[in-house]
């Protein structure tokens, strides 16, 4: 873990001192060995530890596996759950630039990269990233100039990452960024004379994409079928209309008038009763809420109604498993996690900390699945971030300036083209995967165009932007290869060391042979070329893009 150059400005998120003059970033001492390791803790190999950290963090940085070997998986997760949350909003506030426009968008992404690379709340930030791809808002569209509002939304996801799902959907629903994105903000009660009825946008998408989905599910995530063998819809148009009527009367918090709102993106929305529909409303599972309630009562009842739905546990469990572990979790894996969602062991439903722990500690997560169908592709952008973490990447100006990762990787935090995210949890490319009834969500942003641009940016980040380069600009984020130059005389040792850093030493014999042949092509008096070649051979490989 590295000390932030912005540590003092950031307060809660950083480590100790540090400063721009330090030639090498000082290390925080590794935590002392636990005097009383949890009983039953198993020894964690380098390969197992690196695999876990590739799943649960933004990738192992130097020393991370050793720390994990000390705490054990469960101790590591507990530490992560207790670690304070990094705040993107604090990052924006510490910068002199305005939060709107291109600078704002750039600075918001900088916060993402900075925390992924520097900060300790790795699992929380991974969870926020996962949730940001489920409960989607985006700077493509009406929120383009609302970096502050989007940072606040991301912080809200971080804050609730290990909290209760009911609180999360409450905060998501009332966040003004979501209010604007899915047009619940400003949504009014019907006006029959003008053929105006409530906006159905948030009502529909929050049910379909955030909480229960379109068809009834079993606890194991498989669809329930009726007696005729047909799928059972979770809602119909009248239920969408019921929720649309619930979500009337809300605008920006701190507003004096509904139609002249505050435009404050940092506080939850507030309701104006006179713009709220007070009729009776039909919700899920036959529930009807009575006429005459306040906006707040209606909202509480409606979100309770969603939260109580039997689909929530398998729906969310499967999506989170897909973001961390496996594109195609077995039904029993989904059921084990969904069972924890429904009861964390202490009678609490919706405990996301317990859910992520169940996901990461499950036997199907810790042991690669046989049969060649397990695991998942690493999201393209996270391949870059894990490269940067492994090699302590930074820029001389202390910034992380990379404004358009979507151009290269087909994705960027809170920059989806629509509420349907960059890829669907059910996406299956035609051919083998589709034929076997398997999905591979990340393949939806994997085509002839993106494989080239991803590979190209990774190559740029290795061969060109490294610590040996002398002609880079101050803001070029570069990997640190200095510690490994001395290994270049022995290609086998070099390659093994690079593999240890990136994958815990796991490398196929075929890739090893190809990589060694390439390294040996490079004259011994070009150590930096040899080191970067070794890194590129691994990072550009198909196997590095997969965590099985």
């Amino acid at each position: 873990m590295f000390v932030s150059l912005f540590a003092l400005a950031l307060g809660a998120c950083g480590g100790g001192g540090g400063g721009e003059s330090s030639p090498a970033t000082p290390q925080i001492p590794a935590p002392p060995p636990s005097p009383d390791p949890p009983s039953g803790e198993i020894d964690i190999s380098l390969a197992e530890g690196a695999r876990f950290l590739r799943q649960a963090s933004f990738g192992p940085a130097e020393g991370d596996v050793v720390s994990l070997q000390t705490t054990g998986y469960e101790g590591w997760i507990d530490n992560q759950i207790n670690a304070p949350a990094s705040s993107q909003l604090q990052h924006l506030a510490a910068l002199p630039l305005p939060e709107n426009g291109a600078e704002g968008r750039r600075n918001r992404l900088e916060a993402f990269f900075k925390y992924a690379l520097e900060n300790d709340d790795q699992l929380r930030q991974r969870m926020a990233f996962a949730l940001s791809e489920i409960m989607v808002v985006s700077d493509q569209g009406a929120l383009a100039n609302r970096a502050g509002g989007l940072a606040s939304y991301y912080d809200m996801l971080s804050e609730h990452a290990f909290g209760n799902f009911r609180d999360l959907i409450g905060a998501v629903t009332l966040h003004p960024a979501m209010g604007v994105y899915l047009s619940m903000l400003g949504n009014e009660k019907p006006d029959a004379a003008r053929n105006i009825r409530p906006d159905e946008n948030y009502a529909r998408e929050s049910l379909q994409l955030f909480t229960i989905g379109t068809v009834e599910l079993n606890l194991d995530g498989t669809p329930r079928l009726d007696s005729a063998g047909q799928l059972i819809p979770t809602y119909d148009q009248t239920i969408i209309e019921g929720f649309a009527h619930v979500y009337t009367g809300w605008t920006f918090g701190g507003s004096v008038r509904f139609n002249r709102p505050s435009r404050d993106y940092l506080v939850p929305m507030q309701a104006f009763s006179s713009f709220h529909d007070t009729s009776e409303k039909k919700l899920l599972n036959g529930v009807v809420i009575p006429a005459g309630q306040t906006p707040e009562q209606d909202l509480t009842d409606a979100l309770d109604n969603i939260f109580a739905h039997q689909n929530v546990a398998p729906f969310i469990s499967r999506r989170l498993i897909q973001r961390f572990i496996s594109a195609n979790p077995s039904p029993s894996y989904v059921e084990r996690v969904a069972t924890v969602f429904n009861d964390n062991g202490f009678g609490v439903r919706g405990d996301l900390g317990a859910v992520i722990k169940a996901i990461l500690l499950d036997v199907e997560a810790r042991t690669p699945v046989a049969g060649g169908i397990g695991g998942k592709l690493v999201e393209p952008l996270l391949r870059l971030v894990s490269l940067w973490r492994a090699f302590d990447a930074s820029a001389p100006n202390g910034r992380y300036i990379y404004p358009q990762p979507n151009n290269d990787f087909g994705q960027a935090p809170l920059r989806s083209p629509s509420v349907f995210n960059f890829f669907s949890p059910d996406y299956a490319p035609a051919g083998e995967l589709s034929d076997q009834g398997l999905v591979s969500p990340e393949m939806q942003i994997t085509n002839e165009t993106t494989t080239a641009s991803v590979n190209d940016y990774l190559a740029l980040s290795i061969y060109i932007r490294n610590s040996n380069a002398t002609t880079l600009g101050n803001q070029a984020i570069r990997i640190d290869i200095a510690p490994y130059l001395a290994l270049s005389g022995d290609p086998e040792v070099l390659l093994q060391r690079m593999a240890e850093k990136l994958t815990g030493g796991v490398i196929s014999s075929e890739l090893e042979a190809e990589a060694l042949a390439m390294i040996n092509t490079i004259p011994q008096d070009q150590p930096a070329f040899r080191v970067t070649e070794a890194i590129h051979q691994i990072v550009s490989s198909v196997e590095y893009a997969l965590i099985e």
Partner: protein
Amino acid sequence: MINRRRFLNISGRTMLGAGLASLLPRQLVAADNSFSDYKCLVNIFLYGGNDSFNLVVPTSNAEYNVYAASRQNLAVEQLDLLAINPDNSDGATYGFHPSAGALQSLFEAGDAAVIANVGPLVAPVTKEQYLSGAASLPPQLFSHNDQQAQWQSLKGDASLATGWAGRIADQLAAETADQLLALNTSTFGTNLFQAGAVSIPYSVSTTGANTYGAFGAEAALGAERRAAFESHIDSEFGNVHARALAAVHKRSLASADLVNQALAQAPDLATVFPASFLGAQLNIIARLIAVRDRFEMCRQIFFVGAGGFDTHDDQNELQPGLLSDVADSIQAFQLAMVELGVNDDVVSFTHSDFGRTLTSNGDGTDHGWGGHQIVTGGPVNGRQIYGQMPILEIGGDDDATGGRIIPTTSVDQYAGTLAEWFGVDTSALDIIAPSLSNFTTSNLGFV
């Protein structure tokens, strides 16, 4: 997405021996092209659900008044509508949205047609059948991704993992076996429309094929590195996701240099495309069409996309920009086809998730069902409205509920007509459009 060219990223224009074409994947079927002509379809998908009831609007008083009563504050002013004079008439008169002047010109010149009130259907549906629940319907009406999948796959109430252009490519595999590029090309990334059971679509960016800079001639050891990578992606990967990724790498490497080399030879077009993403996509397609002979292409289907049509909010502010982009981009594309001398070979057509509610939510509209689509190009029997214009009355005979209009023409008919023009044998049309036989008219006659 705009692709930046970086210094690592060398242009395909500088190199490429003639032997590379032999590396391209080919169909195993050995046959000469059976088509002696060239035909091309361009699907312009308007993501989010275009509010086409404001694109084509009745102008005759009686019909306009019904529209205006339904639409209220979202109605386009009667005097602002751009009148069209279709050769066929249903008694009413119509006009385009004031931002779609380019479409008005194309329509009046006979180069564009309107397909009225088209949408996903399994079979014809009456309002009574819809309300009683007796009708067979595509599942999850009003849901974006489900209805996008309906338009692109025509799966109806069945399960189908291929798109209708993908199935066309499968059907025409033998006749197009000598083509050096995939029949299906997308500028909008992965899509269901072009997914085939056998055929595999190809993806380009708006600047051409993206290349792997580290494998280029300008990178030190680029050729050696490329060879090592090609050996790597030829490995027998034990994991299904790894095999899927490796296959894309192979296709990307196999075609990129050839595509860029050909594009470098493309003639400069005098036509100026709009500076939008849609304009840029249609521009690169025009350039690919210009160099089609270098790939021995006789049949091509392109897929482009535009977003932002989900106008729940601020519709009156957003719609002019959305519609002018569509209209101006389509017009530029058509001019480019004329310039390239292929206007009689190319048909572009719109798709969208759904039409939108006639009712308003205050400042926008919600997810509907049927809507109008636009077909353009030399082969189009233009200046006509095909199908039946709906009654735009809340609670009227065409209103399912809440101003969601029941389609009277199915996407299967729309697609089947295009597929038949494209050269799919009539006996195979039900493979392309599985519900086609449930409708009395299998060819709408617009092309």
